[in-house]
């Protein structure tokens, strides 16, 4: 037993000690990871024994019946609007997938898993906006981040599963230097030297979980996901001479900007999966989301332009901008309930006994799933300078699939094709500005999101 405990400690320690924060991703957080999880409202902390455990609960991976490989695709259409007009928040679409490989390590049940969401839109940059600029702060960027997480899980006791994993974001630090002479009247004769020095450093973040078997009832789960964000900083220096028809004007310009983007709050999940009735699974998760730690994503920029313009030269030099004083966003912590239900209909074919599965299976089974999530907006009334647009979000999801259990000698496990549909409704929220001189003014925010996806999973 002591050996098992030591191994469990190793598994968690390897995850936690090597990182400073967690592998919490954006698309899974907003739309779910995998069709089964999305169809069940993301209430998966105590039931995620497939690749989705890489997000919902690493500990549950060790509950996998066998090595599995999953791949799928998801597409979410965002129709978020203010004052009745669509704001063009980008649709979110990409590949999902992962693997789970269970086994034994020193005689202890063990599993290794990888989960992936990869947008199929290519890699690009972050947009840093002025503080006053309205934005759908929770949906305009965070779901666009690639999610890849890897986890370990062990079952040190028959009734206890522990797991943990690591992910990290790429933070950008860079500098941009220009020097030389710019010829105003003949730009092609300019001689400018450019130097770019960019550094992508990792921002790591952990997640850990535990799952406890309650005999005859199901499982309980506890998950912690750490906080993370992308710290982006850029410095630029321009030092040179501007040539105005032979008049040499020395110029020095410096700029430094820093912003935190794609903030993901730390979360604590308590979940239950009730499986007392054969073929029926009822999952409930309650997620505490630490939105109070949200940081203002406005870029803090300091710039300085120094030019000695000779007398008589018709050039106007703009003043240096005043530095921005950031307003604390004062988001509120939230409890987010998730509910998911699944019933698996045996449809056709002979009876199968799958290894590790206590239930008799038929060759062909059809699961039917439904889920619901209520996310109360953490964004306080935007009566002041900032206009972080948001509204409460109700998400209803449904799903089904087709499972072939032990269809042949090549595949002794199962082959499952899941599909899901997801509709989020954001009821209208009114914002009234305290200051009648607001550039934004009062506004109405509302929207819908429609998500569809499919996942193919092979259990070997």
């Amino acid at each position: 037993m002591r050996r098992l405990a030591a191994l469990a400690a190793f598994a968690l320690g390897a995850s936690v000690a090597s990182v400073s924060s967690e592998a919490r991703a954006n698309e899974p957080d907003t739309y779910g990871l995998g069709s089964r999880a999305a169809a069940m409202g993301g209430a998966m902390a105590a039931d995620a024994t497939d690749f989705s455990g890489n997000y919902y609960n690493p500990a549950a991976l060790v509950g996998a019946r066998g090595p599995s490989l999953s791949i799928g695709y998801t597409y979410a259409w965002n129709h978020l609007q203010t004052n009745g007009q669509d704001n063009g928040v980008a649709d979110v679409h990409g590949l999902v997938g992962g693997l789970v490989v269970p086994g034994r390590l020193f005689g202890v049940p063990f599993a290794f898993g990888v989960g992936v969401y990869m947008p199929d839109t290519g890699i690009s940059s972050v947009t840093a906006l002025r503080q006053e600029t309205p934005r759908w702060v929770l949906y305009d960027q965070r779901q666009s981040i690639i999610f890849i997480a890897a986890n370990l899980a062990v079952r040190p006791l028959r009734w206890l599963e522990l797991g943990g994993g690591v992910a990290f974001l790429a933070a950008t630090k860079g500098s941009f230097q220009i020097s030389g002479t710019a010829n105003v009247l003949s730009p092609y004769d300019s001689q400018l030297r450019h130097e770019v020095d960019a550094d992508l450093s990792a921002v790591r973040y952990p997640q850990v979980g535990a799952r406890i078997e309650v005999p005859g009832v199901g499982h309980l789960a506890f998950v912690y996901r750490g906080q993370t964000k992308l710290d982006l900083s850029l410095t630029a220096n321009l030092q040179g001479t501007v040539d105005f028809a032979g008049v040499q004007v020395p110029l020095l310009y410096s700029l430094a900007t820093q912003t935190a983007e794609a903030f993901l709050p730390q979360q604590v999940v308590l979940g239950g999966s009730f499986q007392r009735v054969p073929r029926l699974t009822v999952n409930v998760d309650v997620v505490f989301v630490n939105w109070a730690a949200f940081e203002n994503p406005t870029a803090v920029t300091v710039s300085n332009l120094s030019v000695n313009v000779p007398a008589g030269l018709p050039v106007t030099i703009p003043p240096n901008p005043q530095p921005v004083t950031l307003v604390a966003p004062q988001f509120a912590n939230r409890f987010v309930p998730h509910l998911g239900v699944e019933y698996v209909f045996p449809v056709a074919g002979g009876v199968r006994h799958l290894e590790g599965d206590p239930i008799e299976r038929r060759l062909v089974e059809v699961p039917v799933r439904a889920g619901y999530v209520y996310e109360r907006s953490p964004v306080p009334p935007q009566t002041g300078v900032t206009s972080f647009i948001d509204a409460d979000r109700h998400t209803v999801s449904v799903g089904t699939g087709l499972t072939l259990n032990a269809p042949g000698s090549v595949l002794m496990g199962s082959l499952t094709l899941d599909v899901h549909g997801q509709l989020s409704v954001l009821p209208e929220r009114l914002t009234f500005k305290d200051n009648p001189a607001s550039f934004v003014g009062d506004y109405r925010a509302s929207g819908t999101m429609l998500g569809l996806g499919t996942t193919l999973t092979a259990v070997f």
Binding site: S18, G88, P102, S124, I148, E355, F432, P436, F439, D442
Partner: protein, 359 residues
């Protein structure tokens, strides 16, 4: 099943993330249409003009201090008429850019920003109280007439017209200097007038407190002709920062332009655009507003125009169209040139103005 792992093989606990294409979310964002204003660009202006100047005489009569009226009162059409203060030739000598303005001239623009020229003179000084000076016109359409207020040596005058061309002057100033009070006998200047929803009028005007320092006063009128000062102090005064430091309006505020608007929940808003000057002498166009017609003004978080240049815009005028708002301001064409021109800005910055007319 039955797969076994060697502990040394457990090394892949890594993952990574970065960001894909620009996320969007910047279309049709809520905007009060109050600013900030960007300069109009060449494609938005008739080819015979240099952006952002919708009107640049480049020589006599050096029109400035524009006031603009929607030509037909229909915000879906862009035609406007404008009145400017202009210098005149005196004794056969052409004026310079520094000459005082002695006439009010009329222009028009089919597209709201490319003003025609030459101008048409509609007012000249002919009363002793005017002191041979006319300037800073402010036009309001009310009751089928155009009320044209102007600054003169003896105060603020009024002329009315039914056809926008021929004006009839009131016999004397409608707002003369106040002997006492905070104005200390200063001559009210640079009027801006708005008709409220109840049919009454509000005037805001500039009061010189000291050289280089002015504040904005307020007056009300039931008929646009007889005015009564409102309050015992300025409606808007220069404002230092909380820590005593400089702001964009710590030195002076003036050249007011009032505008009625409505909030999303139907509250009436009185916006006041004005010229602001900081301690370094840098001029910008700023905005303050209040809910309802009375009470204190609240300032916007930043100036609405002129922060990216050192051209010292002043004398703002704003016209709201159905899809965007245009700002007209008088500013230097360069830091080394004293002659002023009429710059045009548009809000929101993403607004599409369409093709200019004439091209």
């Amino acid at each position: 099943m039955g797969t076994r792992f060697h502990p040394w093989g457990v090394v892949l606990l890594v993952s990574c993330a970065t960001l894909p294409e620009p996320p969007g979310g910047n279309l049709n964002l809520p905007s009060a249409g109050a600013g900030p204003f960007r300069d109009i660009v060449a494609a938005e202006l008739s080819s015979t003009r240099a952006p952002p100047y919708g009107l640049d005489d480049g020589g006599p009569p050096y029109g400035r201090d524009i006031t603009v009226l929607d030509a037909d009162g229909d915000p879906t059409t862009l035609g406007v008429i404008a009145y400017l203060a202009a210098a005149v030739t005196e004794n056969g000598v052409a004026p310079t850019a520094a000459s005082p303005t002695r006439s009010i001239v009329r222009h028009a623009a089919l597209d709201g920003r490319s003003f025609d020229f030459p101008s048409e003179v509609v007012l000249t000084p002919d009363a002793p109280w005017e002191g041979d000076v006319l300037g800073s016109p402010a036009a309001v359409r009310a009751g089928g007439q155009v009320f044209l207020y102007y600054a003169a040596a003896g105060g603020i005058g009024l002329a009315t017209s039914t056809d926008t061309h021929a004006f009839t002057k009131a016999s004397g100033p409608v707002l003369a200097p106040a002997a006492g009070g905070w104005e200390q006998g200063a001559t009210p200047a640079s009027p801006g007038v708005v008709q409220l929803a109840d049919g009454t009028f509000r005037m805001f005007y500039e009061v010189a407190l000291a050289p280089g320092k002015s504040a904005i006063g307020e007056a009300s009128s039931a008929d646009g002709s007889t005015w009564t000062r409102v309050g015992s102090g300025p409606a808007l005064a220069p404002l230092a920062a909380v820590d005593g430091g400089d702001t964009w309006e710590s030195a002076s505020v003036g050249s007011p332009f009032p505008l009625l608007a409505q909030s999303g929940d139907g509250r009436s808003i009185l916006r006041l655009y004005y010229g602001a000057v900081d301690a370094a002498g840098q001029g910008t166009i700023a905005l303050a507003a209040r809910y309802g017609t009375d009470g204190d003004f609240q300032r916007a978080v930043s100036p609405v125009y002129g922060t990216s240049s050192a051209l010292d815009p002043r004398e703002p005028c704003v016209v709201v169209f159905s899809a965007f708002t245009l700002l007209y301001a008088t500013e230097k064409t360069s830091s080394g040139d004293k002659h002023a021109a009429i710059a045009v800005g548009v809000a929101p910055a993403t607004a599409a103005l369409g093709a200019p007319d004439p091209p």
